[in-house]
């Protein structure tokens, strides 16, 4: 298996289209996950899962969107399969790589989905807090407006009294 991993690793530049789009750390993360899957074997679900989760977390931390990550994974999946078909004469080797790539694809999608729903839950909770704050702010705004109106009325009355005291009342 290690020999196969090395042979797939050799395909890195071709799969990541380095000559076309330049070195892409983003997609490289996913490619590394496929290599890990080949190293660990698709039976070691936990090991691959951790690798994929790491990749997803890093990409999202860099500011990539989940949709972008999903698109990258699909792009890489397609290119890897094409590269393997071209590079490997042995059909068994091809099938091993296809299995690993598909396994990584499912895990990555699951990680993205879980991340998305967790984010949505957080966002919903934050929105609730915002709405509670808005209610308090609205109360405060109402009260301030009320006090301003009272003060303006007082000032107007005082101005009227002052005019009366000075004998400046209009006749």
């Amino acid at each position: 298996m290690s020999e196969l991993v090395e042979r797939v690793a050799v395909l890195r530049d071709e799969v990541l289209d380095v000559s076309g789009v330049g070195a892409s750390d983003a997609c490289a993360e996913i490619f590394e996950a496929v290599l890990s899957a080949l190293t660990l074997g698709t039976e070691s679900i936990a090991g691959i899962d951790v690798t994929v989760q790491d990749s997803v977390a890093r990409r999202l931390a860099w500011g990539d969107s989940e949709s972008q990550l999903l698109a990258d994974a699909e792009w890489l999946f397609d290119r890897l399969l094409i590269a393997c078909e071209r590079a490997f004469r042995d059909h068994d080797d091809q099938m091993v790589v296809i299995e690993a790539a598909t396994g990584v694809s499912v895990m990555l999608s699951r990680a993205l989905a879980r991340h998305a729903v967790a984010r949505a839950a957080r966002d919903r909770a934050s929105r609730l807090r915002e709405e509670m704050a808005q209610r308090q702010l609205l109360d405060a705004v109402d009260k301030q407006a009320q006090r301003i109106a009272e003060r303006e009325r007082e000032l107007a009355e005082r101005a009227g009294e002052a005019r009366d005291g000075d004998g400046l009342t209009e006749r």
Binding site: L70, F77, S109, K143
Partner: protein, 635 residues
């Protein structure tokens, strides 16, 4: 006729049926004597008719003569024995009447008995039933060959139904000089109903139908006629005779109260209902626009009130359903808004509550029953309107699918080869923003492929079949996922098909871990299944590799599309949070502006150089205003 505490009412009816030429049944109703009977004659020509009439006359004569001298049970039994002898003698006396006979079921309700009891005697297969508190029981056992065999356990119920001697009597009046008579006595209770009938009724009407009519609460004469109508509708293959004996009126059931008093009370309050609907602002509803207010109110509130009245009377919901359907269809057809319809239903509900509350003041129990009936009617109305909406939604979906097909035909593959969305019916109605690149074989698995592609297509089919066979029958989600995978492989060149399958698979799952985990586990299980299945096939390695690649690609597209849909579905949560944050920021800015304005006013009120503190954000502290300058710090 009054019989002590319990008033006995009785009425009978008889009909020749739809097949027989003459009516051989006879009926006996003597309210004064308390004697009732049904006789079903048999024999050639007019013999059957003669037999039943002879028996009836003999029973009546015997009971009239001996009513005060014998105990009721002996009296009734002897009357039938007397009738048997009379029929037998008549048959012997006239050669044309030879072999005639009759069944008989007789009920005697003696006046002197307290509490009231009824004695029932019978010979043959005419029956007596007792209806008591909603349940009907048969008081007599048929004297037929089959019934005898059945009671001795010699044949089964199924055998009895198809037995060639099903209708052959084991006993009757007139075949011999004497006949064994079965006699039974029961205590009557208020509300009981006894039914005496010939086999023309129960042979052509269901027990459920008979029970329903007996419990309908209608007058005895009406029930007797309705029972005959029931048997006629069931075929009317024999003479039909029914006799209903009613032992006083039963306490009215809740249903009867609503059907009678409730309906009447509701109808009396019609002006109040219309006035309440008017006061609730029904006339201002956009639904009533275009008509004079009074006419519109009458049209909506008046029609609803009348529909509900008819439904209360009949214990149905048909009229309110029809009203709501007509109202809703008219409004929606003119482009009306659902919320307006909803508001009108709420208005009608509020008006109905007002009417029921008015009834409650005088009749508390009735109002409670009406509460339920009105709530039920409004639920029916909402269901009717909901049904309309569902119909319209389906129509819209059909139109969208049609438009989509037209667009696809005009531009089968646009610049990107992607179509804007797919509109197969599903819930939730997610539209993927994410495109799907084509997968699979050109023309799909069903494309009639030759050569290498044809071999691959066959291998893919085999793989999916093996995978499907390995799924336990209760793993529905896995089965569904394989079906989706197959659909994508078949229609791989059609991206909307992929989206449609993903959307159907996602279905009504909740947008949380509980919703998505089982789905992804099923998808992973499918991956393992088809991977194993590829290795189980006997194709060359090259074909296996191509098949695995194709299925894996379809699987990847399916999983990615499901994930894409999920990302689309949760995206609004973030957008709404941003909106909320913007609103909060605006409110904070507004508050700061007001605080500044208030501080200016405070300063103006105190005069030049005065000090007025500003209340912190969100606190309603009253600013401290000093008449004199603040004290100096002693330090």
């Amino acid at each position: 006729m009054s019989r002590g505490a319990i008033v006995i009412e009785a009425a009978g009816s008889t009909d020749v049926g739809k097949v027989r030429a003459g009516n051989e049944d006879s009926l006996l109703v003597d309210l004064d004597l308390g004697l009732y009977g049904v006789f079903d004659g048999m024999g050639g020509a007019k013999a059957g008719e003669v037999a039943s009439q002879t028996a009836r006359d003999a029973v009546l004569a015997y009971v009239t003569a001996n009513a005060d001298q014998l105990p009721p049970m002996d009296l009734v039994e002897n009357s039938l024995l007397h009738a048997c002898a009379a029929v037998f003698d008549a048959a012997r006396a006239d050669r044309s009447l030879h072999g005639m006979g009759t069944t008989a079921v007789v009920c005697f309700v003696p006046e002197v008995h307290r509490p009231r009891s009824a004695v029932i005697a019978h010979v043959g297969d005419s029956r007596a039933y007792l209806w008591r508190q909603g349940r009907m029981s048969q008081l007599t056992r048929d004297h037929t060959i089959v019934a005898e065999l059945l009671s001795r356990g010699m044949i089964s119920v199924e055998d009895a139904e198809n037995h060639p001697y099903k209708n052959v009597l084991s006993r009757n009046l007139g075949a011999k000089f004497e006949a064994a008579v079965d006699v039974v006595a029961i205590d009557l209770r208020a509300g009981d109903r006894l039914l005496l009938c010939s086999d023309g009724l129960f042979g052509f009407a269901s027990n459920e139908g008979i029970q329903y009519l007996l419990g309908s609460g209608d007058a005895a004469a009406d029930v007797a006629r309705d029972l005959i109508e029931l048997a006629l509708r069931g075929g009317g293959g024999d003479n039909i005779t029914t006799l209903v004996i009613e032992a006083g009126a039963a306490p009215a059931s809740n249903t009867q109260v609503v059907r009678t008093t409730g309906a009447a009370s509701w109808w009396q309050e019609q002006p109040r209902f219309v006035a309440a609907a008017r006061a609730q602002g029904l006339g201002r509803s956009p639904l009533c626009r275009g008509l004079p207010p009074e006419e519109a109110i009458e049209l909506v509130a008046g029609s609803f009130c009348e529909a509900l009245f008819h439904d209360l009377e009949k214990s149905t919901g048909v009229n309110v359903w029809t009203f709501a359907q007509n109202l809703g269809a008219g409004w929606l057809d003119h482009g009306g808004d659902w919320s307006v319809l909803r508001a009108v239903l709420d208005t009608l509900h509020a008006a109905a509550v007002e009417v029921v509350d008015a009834i409650r003041v005088e009749e508390r129990r009735l109002a409670s029953l009406l509460d339920i009936a009105v709530a039920r009617a409004l639920i029916v109305a909402e269901l009717a309107v909901g049904n309309l909406l569902a119909d319209r939604l389906r129509g819209v979906e059909r139109e969208l699918v049609f438009l989509h097909a037209v667009a696809a035909a005009a531009e089968p593959h646009g610049e990107s080869g992607r179509l804007p969305f797919s509109d197969d019916p599903t819930i939730p109605f997610l539209r993927s923003k994410r495109g799907v690149s084509t997968v699979g074989l050109d023309g799909g698995l069903d494309g009639g492929l030759d050569g290498e592609e044809g071999t691959t297509a066959r291998a893919v089919r085999e793989v999916l079949t093996i995978a499907r066979a390995a799924v336990p029958s209760d793993a529905l989600l896995v089965q569904r996922s394989i079906a989706a995978l197959e659909a994508i492989a078949v229609h791989g060149e059609d991206p909307p098909a992929v989206i449609a399958e993903a959307r159907e698979l996602y279905g009504m799952r909740t947008l949380d871990d509980v919703g998505l985990q089982p789905l992804f586990e099923a998808l992973e299980r499918v991956r393992l299944l088809f991977t194993a299945a590829v290795h189980q096939t006997r194709h060359p390695e090259a074909t296996k590799a191509r098949a695995l690649r194709l299925v894996s690609t379809c699987h990847q597209r399916l999983v990615a599309t499901v994930t894409g849909l999920l990302l689309d579905a949760v995206a609004p949560a973030t957008e709404r949070l941003r909106d909320a944050q913007r609103t909060t920021a605006q409110l904070r800015a507004e508050l700061e502006r007001l605080e500044r304005r208030r501080a200016e006013l405070e300063r103006a009120a105190l005069g030049p150089g005065a000090f007025a503190p500003v209340a912190p954000h969100g606190e309603d502290t009253v600013p401290v205003v000093w008449d004199t300058p603040p004290p100096e710090d002693p330090r």
